[in-house]
Amino acid sequence: MSFLIDNETRLIVQGITGREGAFHTEQMLIYGTQVVAGVTPGKGGAEVHGVPVYNTVMEAKVKHGANAAVLFVPPKFMYGAAYEAIISGIPLVITIAEGVPVHDMLRLHHLAREKGCRLIGPNSFGIISPGKAKAGFMAHRIFSEGSVGLMSRSATNAYETVFLMQQKGIGQSTCIGVGGDMIPGSPFVDMLPLFEADEQTEIIVMIGEIGGGEEELAAAYISEHVTKPVVALIAGKNAPKDTSMGHAGAIVSPDGEGSAENKEAVLRAAGVHIAEGTEHLVEIVEQLIKGK
């Protein structure tokens, strides 16, 4: 088992006729994902790598029974595209764009909840259930099927971790990019119940970073509800305060809110294993697997 996406998922790609959208549609198809349709307003009737293109999400959904959407849409247009997908009743919407306006995300975050949609991202690498399907732009050849569930605010730290796991023969159940922007559609705490319930997942890896309070919220949930071992890495310990480290969300406020120290402290108190870096993280995972 895996969750959120698998080989049954019927995915649509919004922004499929763009350069990135077209390229990654091909990559997702190669990986075995069922990309059933694409959407680009005004380009209805076209085809991209054999995938039919429609003007609206609704038409793509009605004709192909789509149940997930991935958006290769620039940040300026992300609000409109995600809004359409949510209102059209797509239950899983994954947004790749980095740097979506915060106020757009405030609205979408709450709208998605009201409409029963899981909104992933923005600034996400997507979701991959290795060996089954992927929706996003991750370089899939480093992923392999296994028992580690991974979620990360950063794409590069996730890749690095998965790459090191690959060298040790450790595979993953499902990997989720929750995204590096300030307001995630679905933060860590929303993903934890899925990892906890998934039979394939035996160890949960959470790659967080400075800024915001999502790791703290996750810690509170973990101490109450999660029985599986959780290993966490918090990036940005040595970042200066009041400075965005690239991800819009990776910023410690001048009074120290969102610091790595605080996140590590509350996670540790919740029984989470804290890693110093990616290699250390994979060492801990390896020990946990051996100890079973």
């Binding site: 740097g99 307001i183 870096g277 290699e279």
Partner: protein
């Protein structure tokens, strides 16, 4: 992007939010020329991108022309936390009888805007929370709803605001909320919100922080950003869509990588081994040979940089492109040593290109290996 006070006041005026009516001067001469244009007594407020200007002498008063001239020379020679004063906002001094606090900010955990009000203000919000917690009122503002009358009613009742200030408060709070939403703010704060000697409320100071990712909606503010960024390398990098981040004054290492997470991880591991990173540059995705050259050039313009750790994990990034960029840069990077870690698409091609590089390039097998190489050469 944090606006300077006078810019915040410009926005307040667009919304008819009562604030100080003043003018900004960019030199001592311009400030002296306010004589006759703004009535005395005058308040002269330094416009700098940092807090604590009052304590540093950055706010002065002038009762007459002689004082104005003295204070103008003083302020334009002043440095506040190492930042030179380049602009001074001058206005007729407001006689006030009371100070309050009003802000609208973002609660990232709850993912809503939050309005914070206290009829006791003038000091920073943490101090208000400590000294007068029962007068501090906090209320969430859901993003898909307009600001409701009952919300403001609650704020006024819960804070015990005097009846005579309520009409002004409702007006100002409503306008501040419009500014917050229409300008895509992360913070809009009036501290202090004062009661004038005429019994009216007025914004004596203004802090507005606008979401950088929404600046495309606000051309006027976006242009202003380039005026105020002090670090020329930040601007230069921005023109190539790179992000240049100053990290520490001390240190001689620069980190270049293709992603925020990898930059933070690299800095964390280097710092853990007792070395110091002075700056970092995020290439973003899809780096080409030419972009690598520009990135190396910009980082090398920082005179403190002696070593560059180039840590590339290519998802979409092609390693042979990176290697070609490095090769093309070496002749311009005098006396700089590069530690290069390449992983991803076309890795072998990239490494083959770099094999023939000079002894100023050392190849690292991974992130941790790269840090070990740095440590062996630079570590204490």
């Amino acid at each position: 992007m944090k606006l300077l006070e006078y810019k915040a006041h410009e926005i307040y005026r667009r919304y008819d939010l009562p604030c100080m009516n003043g003018m900004v001067a960019s030199s001592a001469e311009e400030l002296k020329a306010m004589d006759g244009r703004i009535p005395y007594p005058m308040v002269l407020k330094s416009q700098v991108q940092t807090g604590g200007r009052g304590k540093a002498g950055g706010i002065q008063f002038a009762e007459n022309r002689k004082e104005l001239e003295e204070k103008a020379d003083f302020l334009f020679n002043l440095k506040i936390k190492d930042l030179p004063v380049e602009k001074v906002f001058a206005a007729h001094k407001v006689e006030l009888t009371r100070e309050m606090y009003l802000s609208i900010t973002l609660d990232r955990k709850v993912k809503q805007a939050v309005m914070i009000f206290s009829p006791e203000g003038g000091v920073d919000i943490n101090q208000i929370a400590e000294e007068n917690p029962d007068k501090l009122v906090t209320v969430y503002l859901p993003p898909n709803e307009p600001l409701q009358d009952f919300t403001l009613q609650y704020v006024m009742d819960a804070s015990g605001l005097d009846e005579k200030y309520r009409a002004d408060f409702k007006d100002i709070a409503g306008k501040l909320y419009r500014i917050f939403t229409e300008y895509n703010c992360l913070l809009a704060e009036i501290n202090p919100l004062v009661v004038t000697d005429a019994g009216r409320l007025l914004a004596l100071d203004g802090k507005i922080d606008i979401d950088d990712n929404a600046l495309f909606k606000h051309e006027d503010v976006r242009l202003f950003r380039d005026e105020i960024t002090g670090n020329p390398l930040v601007l230069e990098a921005r023109s190539f869509d790179f992000l240049y981040i100053p990290i520490q004054e001390k240190g001689s290492i620069a980190v270049i990588s293709n992603g925020s997470g990898m930059i933070m991880s690299s800095i964390d591991l280097i710092s853990k081994q007792g070395m110091a990173v002075t700056c970092a540059l995020d290439l973003g995705g899809g780096a080409t040979s030419d972009r690598i050259k520009e990135a190396l050039r910009i980082v090398a313009e920082n005179p403190k940089v002696e070593t560059i750790f180039l840590n590339i994990f290519g998802g979409i990034t092609r390693c042979d492109e990176i290697a070609n960029g490095i090769m093309g840069s070496l002749s311009h990077l005098q006396s700089i040593w590069l530690v290069v870690r390449l992983e991803g698409t076309n890795k072998e091609k990239g490494l083959a290109i770099l094999e023939s590089a000079s002894d100023r390039v050392t190849l690292a097998a991974g992130l941790k290996d790269g840090v070990s190489i740095l440590e062996n050469r630079l570590g204490a």
